[in-house]
Symmetry: C2
Subunit: 462 residues, 2 copies
């Protein structure tokens, strides 16, 4: 029996005990955004520290101006890699409570449908369930072999659901202690119930609000129509010019830093069987609106976009008013990929807009955030090892996917600790994180533990 298979056996045999431990953590009401639960947040941190100490981690509760961090260290064999594993122990609020089918802080195993058991409760998926998978994998390894296969640092945050105000200062102040060869982040999901996934890209974002000013007052369209500049018309023209007929974005330099997705990645996405009809069908649409000739998954995962998130100008109430407005405004955002530079794009956009404003009108810009895309390597050694490990566990090729929403920690690890991240998780699209009746599939919980054990094993082998 290999070193790994005995660990996997241990995880199989101890599933009930691991579930009891998770339930213990889930019962703690660590809602970070509500000051009434500050004590519970600390209790969760202390619970984790005690549990990690019992495995032999050098673990401690680390105070911050907000909720504490949990930091834990464990040595590995000489020459083994050093991994920083990140998760968060805080959870979202539970209101509206009456929409929950059971007490959110009294976790249960429930049969969702024949043959499909789930763990119910706030945090079961996001992120207590996910982080405990890794802790259980470490425990089994330690119990079976008396040590861990590599050097491991754990960082569990208590403010992820409330904006992580203490995170950056903490990373900055403790960079020497926290820096590892790479980070593992357990806040993502699988493609579907059968298909494991590694998230390798997070689109960046640039937000801009533009306001076009024309006449110094609202005008009557009978008196001035045809003569006076109409800011709604100017704005519509500016926005319409941003995409050409093929969905390509026309702002000069916009595609600087955008790379073509490797063909083997595109091919692997094809195998997922996602079609525009299926993806868009869920929201009542069917035709991709982005660049022509690219699959819907490539469009949302690997291509940049320009989206108009809001527009307003003139009379928008009931009925009609023949007014020519003095101003009109729009909120525009760009999703970025690869190496696109948010500030260069902001500048290019502003020049693009300004060039389209008549000389007797003006435009005002308001900046709304900017963050670069995170594009992890498609074939780093640790990624390939993790991919193989996942494929072995799930008997199905692990896919490289991308994430629509942002996971700021990945950028922070890069910025403050100079580390790449490996994003592996076992959440499912129907986990209802942030909503009533959050759940985590028992299969995710069980095979997730096994997956991490396999990944740890794979990382140590050359």
């Amino acid at each position: 029996m290999s070193a790994l298979s005995s660990v996997l056996d241990r995880l199989d045999n101890n599933l009930d005990q691991s579930l009891e431990r998770l339930f213990g953590l889930l019962r703690i009401k660590s809602i970070s955004t509500d000051p009434a639960f500050s004590g519970d947040c600390r209790k969760a941190a202390e619970w984790l520290v005690a549990d990690l100490k019992s495995i032999g981690f050098d673990a401690s509760v680390r105070d911050t101006p907000g909720h504490p961090m949990v930091v834990a260290h464990h040595d590995g064999p000489a020459g083994s890699p050093h991994v920083l594993f990140y998760g968060h122990y805080d959870v979202q609020p539970v209101d509206p409570l009456d929409l929950w089918e059971a007490d959110p802080f009294d976790p249960k195993v429930k049969e969702l449908e024949p043959g499909r058991k789930v763990i119910t409760g706030r945090g079961s998926s996001d992120d207590k369930g996910q982080l405990m998978l890794f802790v259980e994998a470490c425990r089994a390894w330690k119990e079976v072999h008396g040590g861990l296969p590599c050097k491991i640092t754990l960082l569990f945050e208590g403010e992820e659901e409330s904006g992580s105000p203490s995170l950056k200062p903490f990373l900055d102040a403790n960079s020497e202690e926290l820096k590892a060869d790479f980070a593992m982040v357990c806040d993502t999901g699988m493609w579907d119930r059968e298909t494991p996934a590694i998230s390798i890209a997070l689109r960046g974002l640039v937000g801009e609000e533009i306001t076009v000013h024309a006449a110094d007052r609202d005008l009557h369209s009978g008196e001035y129509g045809g003569a006076a500049a109409n800011p709604v018309r100017i704005l519509a023209k500016v926005l319409a010019d941003i995409h050409d007929d093929t969905g390509h974005i026309t702002i000069p330099g916009f595609y600087d830093g955008v790379e073509e997705t490797p063909s083997q990645i595109l091919k692997s996405w094809e195998t997922l069987g996602e079609t525009a009809e299926k993806f868009l069908g869920e929201v009542g649409l069917s035709i991709p609106s982005g660049e022509k000739g690219r699959s819907v998954l490539e469009l949302v995962w690997a291509r940049p976009t320009a989206e108009f998130n809001g527009i307003i100008g003139g009379y928008t109430g009931k009925g009609f008013k023949t007014v020519i407005a003095s101003q009109a405004s729009a909120k525009v955002s760009f999703r970025l990929v690869h190496k696109q530079d948010p500030e260069k794009i902001r500048t290019a956009f502003r020049e693009f807009v300004s060039a389209r404003i008549p000389a007797d009108c003006s435009v005002e810009f308001d900046k709304h955030g900017g963050s670069p895309a995170i594009q992890l390597s498609y074939d780093s050694p640790f990624l390939n090892k993790a991919k193989d490990a996942l494929t072995d566990e799930w008997s199905k090729q692990a896919v490289m996917i991308a994430v629509g929403g942002s996971i700021p920690i990945v950028g922070d690890f890069k910025t403050y600790l100079g580390m790449e991240s490996l994003l592996v998780g076992f959440g499912l699209p129907d986990d209802r994180i942030h909503s009533p009746n959050e759940k985590y599939d028992l299969t995710s919980f069980h095979k997730g533990q096994r997956s991490w054990a396999r990944i740890l094993d794979a990382l140590t082998r050359s």
Copy 2:
């Protein structure tokens, strides 16, 4: 001394008395929109009937479901033309009262600036002052010559400022009695204090509200951006397509029925000295936004337009929300000229929009009114006579101008009585009609009376 010059002398000599009569009418609070003043509206109608009877008109108060009409008839010499003269005795409300420098219903003559006297009070310009000019011209004619130079019917409405609900049924029911060779409408203005004007065109209007529907719910632009149709983008593209780079409207068939303005009319507009800088400078602009190569006066008086009166979609509050809206809408209006057909334009617009909606989205149209343009003849005999008469009185060439706002009565006279109208008035741009401190220049009042006397005289001559 000619028949006319003795009438003009009479008007000059009786100016004070005519002013006293106007003041009598101005003191009546005939605010048509406020039911509290119903009695005052009737009182104004009765005042007019009494005054007209004193000149020898067969005048009566004619009940309607709303405020009464005043109808009066007076014969003219055999073979003389028959003219219907229209005005309205109702006035706008006076609030906010504290912005008035004097009681709006206690008219006064006031020196606005050295050498410029004005009559102050609600209705002094719109429309009691204007209609009394004609009554005074008739009175002088009658007093001097014992009769009128032509057959005259007077129609004074009491609901013009509150939507004229009774007008069309009244015209329809009394068409035989009211029909004349042509109508004269005294609700317009001069070009400036020195230049008399005849309004020969009123732009028509088509209003449409369009709502583009895309996904069946609001979407997250991270998850769906680049794939899902964005209704703001679709709408912006539709609106941007309506004008080409030269300001020309691209909707097929839009210019059907649009005629080129005769060159002598364009030349006469040039003599007015209006420039884009002057016209637009008053509202903080300087560059005409309409079709290139046309003067600003031609753009607002004789060219059709497409204007976007309002637009809304997505998140329009403070800050930012990375949403892709499920719908977006705009209010669009077209000003029409000459023989453009409102319903054909509505249909062409709807086809134009529908052709630009992706197959998985939809568009909804809401109709908001449609009326054809009124284009009066540039050289009918009565127009030319009136023009000469005005030119004689003001010692300055009368100009043919157009009106931005609508004067529905002109269309109604055409529809119900089959009559063309002659639009002559002596209001000035700074009369503040509908606003506090309404006034009417004493020169308008005096030379306006003389102008009408001259027009009546001119009409009877071949």
